[in-house]
């Protein structure tokens, strides 16, 4: 039987954050990122020999246009006992997301036409600044990190992208854009800052894809 949960309970906010990251990964791009705005309803169900399933009703917002929100229903199933299995996340988004074709094409053409591959560091900088030119690069990392976060989440974790340490464009002969990122993930429960490498592919029509990722070691000074 499903049990209603108080909306501000830590288990709810963790499951909701995870669902939002997944929705963002599936639907986001350099011109659109989705973030959790609010939890409207939450319940939980223990399934014998399987795990724990959360039913959530969420509101997601477009990070570039806070007035643009959509409703989302999600189910998050954390598997019992299996530490290395990603949770199952299913979600449905109600309503239309803003069309970003124009911005996507501008970004796509701008990067495709660079003679020298793009390289950048520390986005945002220490003061939280992101230059307008780097916004799509940051948003792309935000979206792609949704995949890494999903793959590494448990009921006892809550991840966010803390910073892009380093990003380098990798030129391809096909139509895709490829970026090699080293990001810092912040895990709220342990408070750890975890460097993570991810290879991200993007194309305006084909969405975002993380083709490779690996957790990095922290340096002694950190």
């Amino acid at each position: 039987a499903a049990m209603e949960l108080p909306l501000s309970h830590r288990s709810v906010t963790r499951a909701a954050a995870l669902a939002a990251h997944c929705a963002c990964y599936q639907r986001g791009g350099p011109g659109r990122g989705l973030a959790l705005r609010a939890v409207r309803r939450a319940s939980r169900q223990d399934i014998d020999d399987v795990g724990r399933k959360y039913h959530l009703e969420l509101v997601l917002e477009d990070v570039l246009d806070k007035d643009s929100t959509v409703n989302c229903t999600a189910e998050v199933l954390y598997h019992l006992g299996h530490k290395n299995v990603a949770p199952d996340v299913q979600f449905t988004i109600e309503g239309e997301l803003k069309n970003t074709d124009e911005a996507d094409n501008i970004f796509y053409n701008r990067i495709k036409s660079l003679e020298i591959e793009l390289v950048a560091e520390n986005i945002p900088d220490s003061h939280g600044n992101i230059s307008p030119e780097m916004e799509p690069i940051h948003l792309l990392a935000w979206v792609a990190s949704g995949y890494v976060i999903w793959q590494n989440s448990t009921e006892k974790t809550k991840f966010q992208l803390a910073q892009i340490k380093h990003v380098k464009q990798v030129k391809r002969s096909d139509e895709y854009l490829e970026f090699d990122y080293v990001i810092l993930l912040h895990e709220m429960v342990s408070q750890e800052i975890i460097p993570w490498q991810m290879t991200v592919l993007w194309h305006p029509q084909h969405g975002v894809q993380v083709t490779q990722d690996s957790r990095q070691l922290k340096h002694a000074s950190e």
Binding site: P6, L114, I116, H127, N129, Q163, S190
Partner: protein, 419 residues
Amino acid sequence: MKILPVFATLVAAACSEQLFVGDQVLRITASDELQITLLRVLGEQAELQVDFWRHPTSPGLPADLWVPFPSLQAVKIFLESNSISYSIMIEDVQELLDEEKKTMTRSRRIQRSTSMFDFASYHTLDEIYDWMDMLVDDHPSLVSKIQIGQSYENRPLYVLKFSTGGSNRSAIWLDTGIHSREWITQATGIWTANRIAEGYGQDPSITAILDSMDIFFEIVTNPDGFAFTHSSNRMWRKTRSINAGSHCVGVDPNRNWDAGFGGSSSSSNPCSEVYRGPYVHSESEVKAIVDFILGHGNVKSVISIHSYSQMLLFPYGYKKATAPDYEELNELAKKAVTDLAAVYGTQYTYGSVADTIYMADGTTIDWAYENGVKYSFTFELRDTGRYGFLLPSTQIIPTATETWPALLDIMVHVLEHPY
């Protein structure tokens, strides 16, 4: 685009009143390495007297070039003939300066010397310590600075005391920056301390509070960590104490307090971000506060300010049990977050630490609560993760502004419910 540095840069460049009529700043984007080289060469032409405010470093990233009026035509012809794309960022530098001068003169007339301080930027430790002295100078009968101890690396631990007199009055303790990477907290602390000082005699609530009670405010609670976030690692959280037998440095100052110390919600591993330390109050930064509060004997509220998550929390963190004052603390938290949301719509959640964020042992507010300080709260300021610790400085004043009514609600409640 920042206004203040524009003025500062040009004032630095000209000792006397030099006119910049017709000068422009161009935003130039080189598309390849050749263009980068051409731009560098352009910058080196002494007779043109151009100056890069943002240097050309790599293709695709903008460079900003100040061009004096006499050189404009030559520079633009050069750029156009080499197909280097540019746009005019500032059409007339003198106009911009005239505007800026007007704004600064205006703000100087309204306030006094602490207005030279830019509350909308993040500052270094030295700048904050200098500002504290300015605040005391500006409000000598209200504000004093006391030193409660020293950090591991021997930096002074300063507390601002707001008092209108009396002897050992009931007091409210506020701290920011115990976790050094949470920069929005020290920045909010500065703004808030200023607001308290300016508010006495003007704002009825703060006047009523200070007429009966004292406020103690430690703005940089972890100065070693804070200096480290500036010099080496922006994401540093802990103190900078050396751990015997480990290459890892630092103890989590919010797991080092004697309340549920040593539980499973902190770590015994010095390399962990939630390392509790070798024993309770091992950190001089923590011990100084413990000694101060116990020595004072009349502290009625402890409000410890952190970021991020947008939450207002109260005990317990170290156990799931409901605190004896749960109902009252919960109602007060609810009121405070409602008043916070009324400012800009920022939504906070509230509840006990254990229920709302995570189990955590050895924390400041659990210690305070178990030592008789009923009104013990932790704020987690903006945001919810979009920028996290790297909150843009443009959000400093909005964050401080919205948090103020919530702080006032708690302080007024403390005033009206003596115990």
